[in-house]
Symmetry: C2
Subunit: 156 residues, 2 copies
Amino acid sequence: MPTPSSSPIATENRLVEPLVALIGLFKEHAEACIGALGLSMPQAVALLGLDTPLSQRELADCLRYDASNITGIVDGLERRGLVERQVDPADRRVRRIVVTEDGAALVDHLRECLFRDEPLVGTLDAAEVAQLRDLLVKAVGDRASSSWVEMLRPRR
Amino acid sequence: MPTPSSSPIATENRLVEPLVALIGLFKEHAEACIGALGLSMPQAVALLGLDTPLSQRELADCLRYDASNITGIVDGLERRGLVERQVDPADRRVRRIVVTEDGAALVDHLRECLFRDEPLVGTLDAAEVAQLRDLLVKAVGDRASSSWVEMLRPRR
DNA sequence: TATTGTTATACTCTATAACTATA
DNA sequence: TATAGTTATAGAGTATAACAATA
């Protein structure tokens, strides 16, 4: 029996295919969580990065956005009352972005939805999930990027 | 010692964080492979979907692009001599997109680069990689999307 | 009338460059 | 002079709608 010519590369033992499939599931899940809260992806990414109050410049660096984009993203969040711009009295050029109570409640909801394992694990039992997690952690090693929210945005 | 207030959700046993970190590594890797061949992401996605000749409509459906986008993507690939539009003699409305020899050689390179496990597995040994793969396969179950290349494009 | 592919257009996300107000 | 933020603008990627050719 000849090797099927449409599959020149054996895929049986490859990691990439199932990983990419799982990535697809996670993206669907993340978009559902974020869309359900009426947030755009950059707004969600920014909110998740605002665990602690940051200047817009710091937020841009942390999220690896160009600073010019932060204005519009924060505009939208501010219009919804989720964050406030507070002028730094020590340096009146900088605006410190502070999450409001409403914003904090919304981010809590977002995290609770986004960080659930259930949408990802299918029929894995608890021991297998733990095993999967350990293997992922070891695979990533020290190569984890500074801000996990980067994953949610297209790069470059 | 108080629980750090900046981490209201325990992350120690969660799957999402390391998965997202691994996704970030894969995206870097994929973008490097694709960029090195001078392809845009949609061009790469299209080429990878053209394992078998398809009409533009079929390609659009398979990739879940709107059909109007296929024109420009195929234009670019055709200019580089990677694919050809062949008018279907049985129905002169449809253009069958056929990968040329040059295109096939380039896709082979792309697959060889893209599908390597090494950039993903870090310090995992062969047995651990196999274990990780089995767990990923089981986690995904029958929920894998029809076309894995979807992962490479932002959705919605 | 329905379908394939194309064009024109609009919207989102991102980056670059020029501007302002502070420092 | 340098930095924080804003504005204007451009480019990529995607979708919708109208159109031409063909069925």
